[in-house]
């Protein structure tokens, strides 16, 4: 343990004492710092705008009707294939006859939100849906609509995400033109 005999011994002992002192002073310093614990569930930490939480179905803002048109794009894009949709054809627009989402297998990857053309499926700023029975996490259409009203929605919707990824080209004469401009206005957050 000693090199150079006695001299090395004292030097090494000095180093050891110094190292011990330094390590213990770091822990002592932390003794007097405030703990970083957040007392969940008494206290909720603030979730950021883009938080990917529970999935839900939304209503259209102007008409109050269900936003989902049953196009099944989300069903096709979902990697673990947890969404199952049946379309119901209507005169003016289509609806979803049934919409099931198996939340217990969902990856929360947000791809379904990404592809939805009508911003129907969205994610909430909460993940608080723990149950003891897995069947309660097999969400049907009514449950999904109820969740949409129960929690605060996250910032990300299909149109906003797609607009963020590629700026809209100027010559785009679709009916979604105004909706897109409105979405783009919302997407441009201050000081971006």
């Amino acid at each position: 343990m000693a090199d150079n005999g006695a001299h090395g011994f004292w030097r090494e002992t000095g180093q050891l004492v110094g190292a011990v002192g330094r390590a213990m002073s770091v822990t002592l310093r932390n003794l007097f710092r405030k703990p970083v614990t957040i007392h969940y569930p008494d206290v909720q930490r603030p979730y950021p705008d883009r938080f990917r939480g529970i999935l839900a179905l939304a209503y259209e803002k102007d008409t109050g009707e269900e936003a989902c048109i049953g196009c099944r794009l989300c069903e096709y894009v979902c990697p673990p294939q947890v969404i199952k949709v049946e379309m119901l054809k209507g005169e003016k627009r289509n609806y979803a006859k049934t919409f099931t989402l198996e939340l217990y297998a969902c990856e929360f990857c947000e791809l379904c939100v990404q592809v939805c053309p009508t911003d129907a499926i969205i994610m909430m700023k909460s993940f608080d849906l723990a149950t003891a029975d897995r069947r309660e996490l097999l969400l049907d259409k009514d449950r999904l609509h109820a969740l949409g009203l129960q929690f605060e929605p996250s910032w990300a919707t299909g149109n906003r995400l797609r607009d963020m990824q590629a700026p809209p080209k100027p010559a785009r004469g679709e009916a979604r033109g105004e909706g897109k401009a409105e979405a783009k206005g919302e997407a441009k957050e201050p000081a971006e």
């Binding site: 343990m1 390590a23 002592l28 003794l31 703990p35």
Partner: protein
């Protein structure tokens, strides 16, 4: 009281044992809270808000209600007896600790010797646990434990003997009385070095980090107690913490002046408790600051560093006493 002395001692022992068990339980809570604060978190919190006061009670209840799983291929007699053989010496050491000049179960005139001898008996229970579990991890841990504890018992004894030499008696109350003027830890050079050696040897004899190679949770999971569950595990834990507290009390008596402190003599036991807790927290502080070292390095430290150092200290203490003349303060 007109009880015969034997019955009186039995009552005293009973009281001491019960107080001790409660104290040991709450010392675990103290350690957990202290360690948590050093790690930027809060320790036990919910059970008995806001400071987790009922956590030890909850732990004790939980352990009592747990299923006692005995491995099918274990050596039954050895396996079942090991927790008891481990626990009894750890509790017996409290028999010789006086809490005040006349308060204690048995203030033997070979008190320190009895303490040191009995506390070394725990190694038997430890090895029985490791062997009886019929588990390679437990066996490896038990072999390391025998190595380590035996190697560190010698420096432990020598460091504890320095105050004995300085005071001239092995009776604990006499040692405390000899510290009326100056606590032995404040004794120039010899006192401090002996105290440091005592703390290091305590860490090793208690299997505390940085010397906890025998349990090494990340390698051997729980060491020799890996196959124990329920009440047997509780007994082993109780024994470990009781031993830890016992050596803290010993350190307080030998080095920190025992029950001596300002105020009336009735506050003596309180001072002793506080000093023991100071040593306990010091050991905890060290435990939560370091990574552990390997068993061959541990043995190297003991035989190459601590043994010669404590021998030299003991000789120096003897020299000091001899040159001071007979009696001496």
């Amino acid at each position: 009281m007109t009880l015969p002395p034997a019955a009186w001692h039995a009552v005293e022992a009973f009281i001491v044992l019960n107080v001790l068990l409660g104290l040991v339980a709450y010392v675990t809570l103290l350690e957990r809270k202290f360690a948590a604060r050093m790690q930027s978190r809060i320790g036990p919190y919910y059970v008995g808000r806001p400071h987790g006061w009922l956590q030890p009670v909850a732990d004790a209840l939980k352990l009592m209600l747990k299923e006692d799983i005995v491995p099918a291929s274990s050596d039954r007699a050895v396996y079942n007896l090991a927790p008891l053989v481990f626990l009894v010496p750890c509790l017996l050491i409290f028999a010789t600790i006086p809490f005040a000049p006349a308060l204690g179960v048995a203030d033997l005139n070979i008190g320190v010797l009895f303490f040191l001898a009995v506390s070394s008996l725990e190694i038997v229970g430890l090895f029985m646990g490791g062997w009886g579990s019929n588990n390679k991890y437990a066996l490896l841990s038990a072999m390391r434990a025998v190595n380590q504890i035996i190697s560190y018992d010698l420096p432990f004894i020598f460091a504890a003997l320095v105050p004995v030499v300085l005071a001239g008696s092995m009776q604990m109350s006499a040692i405390v009385a000899a510290q009326k003027g100056l606590w032995f830890v404040a004794y120039p050079v010899i006192g401090q070095l002996a105290f440091i050696a005592f703390v290091i040897a305590t860490l090793a004899a208690e299997n505390r980090v940085p010397f906890d190679i025998l349990e090494a949770e990340s390698e051997l999971v729980a060491g020799f107690r890996v196959e124990y569950s329920g009440m047997k595990f509780a007994l082993i834990q109780l024994g470990e913490y009781a031993h830890m507290l016992g050596t803290s009390f010993l350190g307080a008596l030998l080095f920190l002046g025992g029950w001596l402190g300002p105020g009336p003599a009735a506050l003596g036991p309180l001072w002793l408790l506080l000093k023991a807790l100071v040593i306990f927290l010091l050991v905890t502080w060290v435990r939560w600051s370091f990574v552990r070292i390997r068993v061959d390095q541990i043995l190297a430290i003991s035989w190459k560093l601590l043994m010669p150092a404590t021998l030299v200290l003991l000789l120096a203490a003897g020299f000091v006493v001899a040159t001071r003349g007979a009696g001496g303060g």
